[in-house]
């Protein structure tokens, strides 16, 4: 806690304890379920890649075949490796198995004695996890060798052409101009695909598909430019949507550095079933924890549909929950890019000081987390001049309150996905603000008991109350059903991907969870 707000440590501890109480039942549910994507992630860790001629990944074909024959209540691992053993194939022959299974030529079963299948599965998945571990070590050694981002906040820029081959030069150009983190925005629609497309792709809408190959290409391009620039440029994508666990896995396998990963975004903004989301989320966070990936949560999104002042406390509540779920899944504080945003209507009086209050509250509640600070979007208009100014004040608030990851705002926010020149201008904006006023925080000391301190305390108070209410009423799932977050109602028994949720049966086996939870 940097102590500019004079927050009462007892009040902070109480809020945190409430978040745990509210989160625990949900973790219990997540532990008791699996999903099609969790199971496919296991198979991806075991090494399967590629897609059939229609573009459906072999991992989907295989998992579907297993599900048809044995169900997923005990996981895919046992039936798959049992079949592999029976075929007398090696651990590297999963693809063959998938192809044969897709042709209807494999019979899956739950082996009565699971020992051999378990061992094989464990061994296969271990290899994937070893690759993740190696990537983590490589990242660390690259950073040590090449150098790291020169300062905090890290400067985070998106590319979004839809074509990985246009994205690459744009990302490199952005890095040269000063970006520390490049995010490749995904195509609209990908989040609702129940498979991860394969290969290099060139036809996304307002974003580029997240695929293993795209990850690899972009990471390699950024490695080149990192060496050129003498600083390691990080790569981000989205472990979000119906394939959250698989994308997290691909991220680990291709050395991505940060991932958008929120406990509730999919529920609220993509109408994905809540149980599915929480189950997928827990698995994906275990992967991220292992991979040394920093997650970015999505509280900023609430403020695009809800009012940033009225609903400020829902952001705090969500941050506390995201923190709880993340720590429970094994992430460390330095991996928690908790989200928030500069989305207060600029027409309201003292809007900038309100932003400072909210941003400082997050800073002081989560002193060791590299907070992700999102630029204005909702109140951006076609007036690009006004937008450029607003982005400058966003940058200033970020600097003054010590945010960790600064998402760079674009003057064309209300118009188009960013032009090359928008990014260049936006980086110039960031550079000016950080160079000229980056240390203004030293001279920023909110009047004790004044406007800013009072506002921060009010928001914390409202957040605590809301957590109490959620606990007292019927828990988090019910609160989500009631429209508590982002003013969107999502009942637990509805939503997309529900049919991919499966309750564990006795004997459920997941070698990945075993390794990740065992820490081995």
């Amino acid at each position: 806690m940097t102590g500019k707000l004079d927050l009462d440590p007892a009040a902070v501890a109480a809020a945190r304890a409430l978040a745990r109480e509210v989160g625990e039942p949900v973790v219990r549910i997540a532990r008791e379920h699996t999903t099609v994507s969790v199971e496919r992630a296991v198979l991806r860790l075991a090494g399967i890649t590629g897609a059939d001629p229609d573009g459906i990944p072999w991992v989907n074909r295989l998992a579907d075949a297993v599900r048809d024959q044995t169900g997923l209540e005990r996981g895919v691992a046992l039936p798959v490796f049992d079949a592999l053993i029976r075929e007398n194939w090696g651990l590297g022959d999963l693809l063959l198995l998938a192809q044969k299974a897709a042709a209807g030529a494999v019979e899956f079963r739950l082996p009565a004695d699971p020992q051999a299948a378990r061992a094989a599965a464990h061994q296969a998945v271990s290899r994937g996890i070893a690759r993740i571990d190696a990537n983590r070590r490589e990242r660390e050694s690259l950073i040590a060798g090449i150098g790291d981002a020169p300062r905090k906040p890290w400067i985070y820029l998106i590319v979004a052409t839809g074509d990985i081959y246009e994205d690459i030069p744009q990302a490199q150009a952005a890095a040269r101009e000063g970006a520390d983190v490049i995010a490749v925005i995904r195509s609209t629609g990908q989040s609702l695909l129940d498979y991860v497309p394969e290969g290099a792709t060139r036809e996304g809408y307002a974003g580029t598909y997240a695929t293993g190959e795209n990850f690899r290409l972009m990471r390699a391009a950024l490695d080149d430019v990192s060496r050129e620039l003498g600083r390691y440029v990080r790569l981000t994508n989205y472990a979000s949507g119906l394939c959250m666990p698989e994308i997290a896995t691909l991220a680990g396998l291709h050395r991505l550095d940060m991932m958008l990963n929120d406990s509730m975004y999919g529920i609220l903004f993509r109408d994905i079933n809540p149980i599915r989301t929480f189950t997928d989320q827990r698995f994906s966070r275990q992967i991220h924890a292992r991979a040394g990936i920093i997650i970015n949560t999505g509280e900023d999104n609430y403020l695009t549909t809800a009012d940033a002042v009225d609903e400020a406390h829902t952001v705090t509540v969500s941050q506390l929950l995201n923190e709880y779920f993340a720590l429970e899944a094994g992430l460390a504080d330095w991996q928690l890019g908790l989200g928030h945003a500069f989305e207060i209507n600029p027409a309201i009086p003292d809007s900038f000081r309100l932003e400072l209050a909210h941003a400082l509250l997050a800073r002081e509640l989560f002193p060791d987390a590299p907070l992700k600070w999102m630029p204005p979007t909702k109140h951006m208009t076609g007036d690009i001049f006004r937008g450029y100014l607003l982005d400058g004040f966003f940058n200033l608030a970020g600097a003054m309150t010590g945010q960790g990851i600064l998402l760079v705002g674009m003057m064309t926010e209300a118009v188009v996905t960013p032009f090359l020149s928008d990014r260049d201008l936006a980086l110039q904006n960031v550079r000016y603000v950080l160079d000229a006023a980056g240390k203004l925080g030293e001279d920023f000391r909110p009047e004790p008991g004044g406007f800013i301190a009072t506002r921060a305390r009010t928001v914390l108070g409202e957040a605590t109350e809301l957590l109490q209410r959620i606990r007292g009423d019927h828990g988090l799932l019910q609160a989500i059903a009631d429209g508590t977050f982002g003013i969107t109602k999502r009942p637990a028994d509805r939503g997309k991907g529900l049919d991919g949720v499966v309750a564990h049966a006795d004997g459920y086996y997941n070698p990945a969870t075993e390794i990740l939870e065992g820490g081995s």
Binding site: Q172, R176, T188, Y205
Partner: protein, 250 residues
């Protein structure tokens, strides 16, 4: 009336332009920028800023006097040709002229998940201080939400016996909004007998309102549309006042 852009003096024609050219920065690149400005009709043009962006691109800011004249009498614009009604008037018109609730099916189609715009029109909460269509007693509103596939939309329209189908399109990259809207109108043409399809209305901040015919739909609403405008249009199109508008009787 003929007008010209105004910088600080009537008739000076002053315009500001910025763009990127995919060429490295050099005097030649600056000349290229001025060539483009000239083709855009700026004369004289002043190149006031040139910034290399990496080795392959240069960003320019140009000011200049546009020699084009704007002919106000030739301006093409979709003017509202119907009166703006209050909620009360809308309800009354539907009740007396249609004698049953008017059914509206709304959706954000394709992979677009931006529901704020269509919700602003449909939900009770409304927009800019006006209540949305759900608030109108004589309108029955079915809001299908985000990322609705066209076949599902058609099915819902048939099931609900929709009088009007309202779709929203916010993502415009690679003209996604145009492709989706065309796909939608084609599907309705196929699903309904000729002349019987529901009224098709599209909305979103980047539509060109004059493109209805090209897109095969009846009306487009753009930036800043209010629910009242939409309700009034629905009355005008689906429950017209036959006495007041005799030319509409066939």
């Amino acid at each position: 009336m003929i007008v010209r852009p105004y910088g600080d003096t009537t008739g000076d024609g002053m315009v500001q332009v910025s763009f990127t050219l995919p060429v490295p920065h050099s005097k030649r690149a600056e000349g290229a920028a001025l060539q483009l400005a000239g083709k855009m009709g700026l004369e004289p043009a002043m190149l006031v800023h040139a910034k290399p962006m990496g080795p392959d691109f240069t960003f320019f800011v140009v000011y200049g006097s546009a020699r084009h004249l704007v002919d106000m009498s030739a301006v093409e614009v979709i003017e509202r040709e119907y009166p703006l009604l209050t909620a009360k008037e809308v309800n009354a018109a539907i009740k007396t002229r249609l004698a049953r609730p008017l059914v509206v099916v709304g959706a954000c189609i394709g992979t677009d998940a931006h529901t704020v715009g269509i919700d602003a029109i449909l939900n009770v909460k409304g927009f800019a201080g006006e209540k949305g269509l759900e608030y109108y007693g004589e309108l029955r509103v079915v809001n299908l939400g985000a990322q609705v596939l066209v076949p599902d939309l058609v099915e819902a329209a048939i099931a609900e016996r929709a009088d009007a189908v309202l779709i929203s399109q916010i993502v415009t990259q690679k003209d996604a909004h145009l492709a989706n809207t065309r796909e939608m109108s084609a599907a309705f043409r196929e699903a309904y007998p000729a002349g019987q399809r529901p009224l098709l209305v599209a909305g979103g901040p980047r539509f060109d309102e004059t493109m209805t015919a090209e897109l095969g739909i009846d009306r487009i609403f753009g930036r800043g549309t209010t629910p009242g405008e939409v309700a009034s249009y629905l009355v005008h199109a689906l429950a017209p006042d036959r006495v007041a508008q005799p030319e509409e009787i066939r």
